[in-house]
Symmetry: C2
Subunit: 225 residues, 2 copies
Amino acid sequence: LLCLENVWKIYQMGEIEFAALKGVDLEIDKGEFVAILGPSGSGKSTMMNLIGCLDLPSRGTIRLDARDISKLCESDLAQIRGKKIGFIFQQFNLIPTLSVLENVMLPLEFQEVDNDVARQRALGLLELVGLKDRVYYNPSQLSGGQRQRVAIARSLAVDPDIILADEPTGNLDSKTGAYILDFLNGLHTNEGKTIIVVTHDLNIVKYAEKVVYIKDGEIEKVEYT
Amino acid sequence: LLCLENVWKIYQMGEIEFAALKGVDLEIDKGEFVAILGPSGSGKSTMMNLIGCLDLPSRGTIRLDARDISKLCESDLAQIRGKKIGFIFQQFNLIPTLSVLENVMLPLEFQEVDNDVARQRALGLLELVGLKDRVYYNPSQLSGGQRQRVAIARSLAVDPDIILADEPTGNLDSKTGAYILDFLNGLHTNEGKTIIVVTHDLNIVKYAEKVVYIKDGEIEKVEYT
Ligand SMILES: Nc1ncnc2c1ncn2[C@@H]1O[C@H](COP(=O)(O)OP(=O)(O)OP(=O)(O)O)[C@@H](O)[C@H]1O
Ligand SMILES: Nc1ncnc2c1ncn2[C@@H]1O[C@H](COP(=O)(O)OP(=O)(O)OP(=O)(O)O)[C@@H](O)[C@H]1O
Ligand SMILES: [Mg+2]
Ligand SMILES: [Mg+2]
């Protein structure tokens, strides 16, 4: 499904250059549950942004369904992002001027889904993550873990084939985190979705079929469980 | 040192009222290492903001060193915040227009510390949290865990007596998290600092002398270890 070939990401800051990813090779099959582990600053979020078509590599190739994403025009990329990929950001990235409900409806609005249908789906997802009493709140009125759960609900709005979760349980207590993990695993087992999770939580690793270890921008090893 | 008596925090949103804390009673002694646990949305950050003199209770009393903080004028409160308390925020709250180094120097600048002294201290703290290669970066160029470590370094800038850490390791891999925890414990054991940590990480709980469990805005139980 997804293939990274000699992928580099180099940040240019005036005279200084920093390579966040250095020659990464990685294959992820359709329907796989992959965990990505590694120290803080090792390149995990950078890799997730590339996989999620939110950014392009400095060198190397990324193929999604055999298509080279750096050869696609912006409207094709937007189509992939909007329909195929659900992204849970490490820092949530909620829209502060919209309510919780509007935030979760947004991906559906972009897909021009009927407003009532979008609303019902968003309400259902918010109930699933335990936030049905918070749907009209503004993100600034929520706790850290509540914002994380809105981000999780939003990522599932269009029922995407691929879910990219960047540290989805970092702000959650272990009980809520286990519930979310269980739900993600259900999407994998019952609906064949491809799940890629960056995590520091070793409980998540138990659910993964493949564990990728990153260090200083390089893949250290890949384990199959 | 710190005494909460029948503390309530009620948020008013038009017609709707929500009580985030309901009649909290809590005592924390000087030099104690306290862990605060509880589900997402249970009121932990709300309580930390009150303890940190960043907010006032709707009802009840908070005493710090026997002084009722709701009776203090803003300049006294600012003095306490600036000198006595180091706060590590759950969402970091770094200043985006300042460099990493300037962010850590800021609390010292507020205390009118000599610029060169402030700079040396900030550089030392950034080295301690493993970020000496990132001091001139902007927060937007850092990973989640790197931002968390800048927030940690900043909280220690004025060498405060009380450290309030709201989920300080949520974005850190277990090795970096353990290192940070060990360092905080050192400040407690060797320098007699009072450490209050909100956490979901049960490793942190092992270091605590007192564990406070919060649920739906109320203290469920307090354990002594
Ligand atoms: N400004 C606000 N207006 C209305 N409600 C608020 C506001 N701030 C917080 N709340 C509510 O107060 C409750 C407690 O929030 P708090 O941030 O203290 O939770 P928490 O225990 O820190 O949770 P987490 O573990 O998810 O960070 C939440 O239900 C939240 O929605
Ligand atoms: N815009 C940028 N400019 C310069 N350097 C950057 C930029 N974005 C990220 N970096 C650097 O790239 C490295 C990898 O960042 P990344 O966010 O991928 O790490 P991470 O593995 O997700 O870490 P964490 O576990 O702390 O979230 C970091 O050292 C960071 O400082
Ligand atoms: Mg990251
Ligand atoms: Mg909180």
